[in-house]
C-alpha cells in the first residue's frame, strides 16, 4: 500500500490533464519570473494547460521536486511526462521543438 498522497495527487493530475504546469502563483498572477515566462510561452503557442500553484501547499512544493528529481519550479508536464523547467522550455520554444513535441503528443495548438 502506498502512503504518499502527494505523489498520488501529482500522478493523477498529470494523467487527467494533457498539459500541466506546476508553478509559483497562478497563470493569471504568476508570482515568479520563471513561472511567468513559461505561462507566456504556452499562451503564445495557444496551448490550453492547467496551472497548479505550489505556493499554496508546501507539501506539493517539495513533493513535485521529489517526484521529478528536479530542484526548481516551474515544471511542465505533457501527457504525463516531465518536459522541463523554464530554461529547457524556453530553449525548446526558441528552436521550435516545443511545438513539435506538443503536436507529436496530440496536444492542440491554437493559431
Amino acid at each position: 500500500m502506498t502512503t504518499n498522497p502527494v505523489k498520488e495527487r501529482i500522478e493523477s493530475e498529470i494523467r487527467d490533464n494533457d498539459v500541466v504546469l506546476y508553478m509559483k502563483g497562478t497563470p493569471v498572477f504568476p508570482q515568479c519570473g520563471f513561472s511567468a515566462a513559461v505561462v507566456q510561452i504556452l499562451g503564445h503557442l495557444g496551448v490550453k494547460f492547467k496551472g497548479i500553484d505550489v505556493l499554496v501547499d508546501p507539501s506539493l512544493r517539495q513533493g513535485i521536486k521529489d517526484f521529478s528529481e528536479w530542484p526548481t519550479i516551474p515544471q511542465l508536464y505533457v501527457k504525463g511526462e516531465f518536459v522541463g523547467g523554464c530554461d529547457i522550455v524556453r530553449e525548446m520554444f526558441e528552436t521550435g521543438e516545443l511545438a513539435d513535441v506538443l503536436r507529436a503528443k496530440g496536444v492542440n495548438l491554437g493559431a
Binding site: F34, K65, E69, W70, P71, T72, I73, F82, V83, G84, G85, C86, D87, I88, E91, M92
Partner: protein, 79 residues
C-alpha cells in the same frame, strides 16, 4: 545566502571534471546567474538528464542557496 561565482564553478567542475563552464552574474547581485556548461559527459543525454547532472554536481544547492541559475548545457561538437 547568495553564492559566489567561483564556488558554483568549482562545484560544477568537481562533478563534471572536463566541463567548460561560463557563468554570468545577471544582475550583479550574487543571486541570479546564468551558466553555460559544456561537457563530453552530456553526449547522448537528453536536456533534462544534462541539467540533472549539473544540479547533482551542485549537490542540493540549486533551489536553495542558489536561487536562480539559468542553465544551458551542451556536449562538445563532434562528441
Amino acid at each position: 545566502m547568495p553564492m559566489d561565482i567561483r564556488e558554483i564553478e568549482r562545484l560544477i567542475k568537481e562533478g563534471l571534471p572536463d566541463a567548460v563552464v561560463r557563468i554570468e552574474d545577471l544582475r550583479g547581485d550574487g543571486d541570479h546567474y546564468a551558466a553555460y556548461v559544456e561537457s563530453a559527459e552530456f553526449a547522448g543525454k537528453s536536456r533534462i538528464q544534462q541539467h540533472q547532472m549539473v544540479y547533482k554536481a551542485l549537490s542540493g544547492r540549486m533551489g536553495g542557496a542558489l536561487h536562480a541559475l539559468a542553465l544551458r548545457t551542451s556536449a562538445p561538437q563532434g562528441s
